[in-house]
Amino acid sequence: MAARSINTQYTAQEVMVTAAARQIRDGELVFVGMRLPLLAFALAKRTHAPRAIGLFECGLMRDEPAPELLYTMSDPPNICGAIWSTRMINLMGMLQQGAVQIGIIGGAEVDRFGNVNTSYIGARGRPTVKLPGSGGAADIASLAGRLLVMMQHQRHRFKERVDYVTSPGFGEGGDWRERVGLPGGGPIAIITTLGMLSFDPETKEALLASYHPGVSPDEICRQTGWSLRVSPTIHETMPPTEEELALIRSYDPQGFWTRP
């Protein structure tokens, strides 16, 4: 993600990692995507969720974050100390069984109902941009109990309707997930470089729930490609504590992921 310092004390990415970490409950099984989601898991482990367990689609389970920064989940430091090194299908099976309470993914485009596109921008037949694809993200979005989506907040990425649904949010809203047969609970939040969006319990439309320190709700609405409704409980995102910042920076001293 492009660097975007909200103020001199911490970056947007550090606020995002902190906000995501706080959504992880102690003892939960967490399906962890790469980059910021990985840091969020590590932070949660070191603070309020010491008994959380991380699942990595390459075939790993860990109850300790890796001792050093990971560029990919298959880096050697992530294998040593793993509590299980196995085949991907075993972890995806647990996900489909409903055993995984929360998953965290990133995305390139998201829409009003939390659907994420990481496949095709423009027409599928002849896209303007071919994105890498799902990886395991669509499985996590389909099957995890709760889903967090971490995104760079830019108007062209926040669309009324994504061009292609890779990782399902609430589809067309309402009871869409039940209708199409998705067992997972769907997204609880979109954590962005500017704020956090939550979802209306009935319509499943994304609402502005909080704005990061130094960012105004108006700016967030301007950076959103649909008329973003504001939650009645809107508030400022609680910034990272000194302890949280110290932990994030101990994992990413060069700021490879958090100070781009």
């Binding site: 790469m34 990595f56 689609e57 390459c58 075939g59 790993l60 560029y71 990919t72 989940m73 298959s74 880096d75 050697p76 992530n78 294998i79 040593c80 090194s85 196995t86 085949r87 991907m88 299908i89 995806m92 996900l95 489909q96 496949s119 599928r124 002849r126 896209p127 303007t128 941009v129 071919k130 994105l131 890498p132 694809g133 799902s134 990886g135 395991g136 993200a137 669509a138 499985d139 389909s142 099957l143 292609y164 649904v165 890779t166 990782s167 399902p168 589809g171 869409w176 997930r177 209708r179 199409v180 047969g181 998705l182 067992p183």
Partner: protein, 304 residues
Amino acid sequence: MSKLMTMTRAVERFVPDGCSVLMGAALESLIPFAAGHEIIRQRRKGLTLIGPISDILFDQLIGAGCVSRVVAAWVGNVSAGLAHSYRRAVESNTPHPIQIEDHSNFTLALGLLAGSLGAPFIPTKTLLGTDLLSGNPAFRLSSETGTGRPLAYVRAITPDIAILQVQRSDGDGHAHCWGNLGVSEEGGLASRGVILVAEEVVPSEVILSDPNRVLLPSSKVMAVVHEPWGAHPSPVQGFYGRDHRFYEEYHAASRTTEGFDRWLEAWVMDVKDRAAYITRVRKDRLDRLKPAQRRMAAPVDYGY
């Protein structure tokens, strides 16, 4: 009998034009780059590449013009971002158009598992309602008898050949592999044949002393290639780490067609084999990837 042969010979014999090849089965580690580069040197055409994610290897084969079809969940550069050659092929048919069969990691694994079981398909609830399922020959929509709940049937995937990097093998194709396995086991079993690329070739007694760590049956193995550093720049647990900078360099170089062609010339076409490649990477750079510390698995006694 020994199946040991050079990479050149293995690719000549077992990776013909138009075949389907599984690579990158372990995900970001154990990626058989040495094999992929030899495929490029032999100018294979019309390949179908199969793999969950492919950390720049598929991008290189696509840019080199070897590929007509990709069956994958993700094609990119895990630490650096998008895959430029893949984008050019899809967005502007450069060097030529390719077909894409989109999967998620789970559905690709289920397709290979079905293949390994000799089952026509396996049903799942993942991806329901997504655009991955629509008009995708890899899937068929159905519903559960009784409940009527929707299901997606993932068709069996049976590659012609799987190319798997392992830590050590004997000459017959009994091999040990450790670290995250991804879809290596079901992928190898689902394939008609397997090419093993081994960091070390060891006596059979070493492998058979621990039959639980054997990756798959030697009856599946067509060739064993002894290729140290065969997975560079991807990591091999216990042998070398990931060369992150190499991925960055490739990402920058491959931004343009010309840049990609120069990169390909320098790192693939202009090096006759893996030994020459290693020399080009330079010893000091490789030395920095070697383990700083040994971490031995606890002893196991099979005695009786």
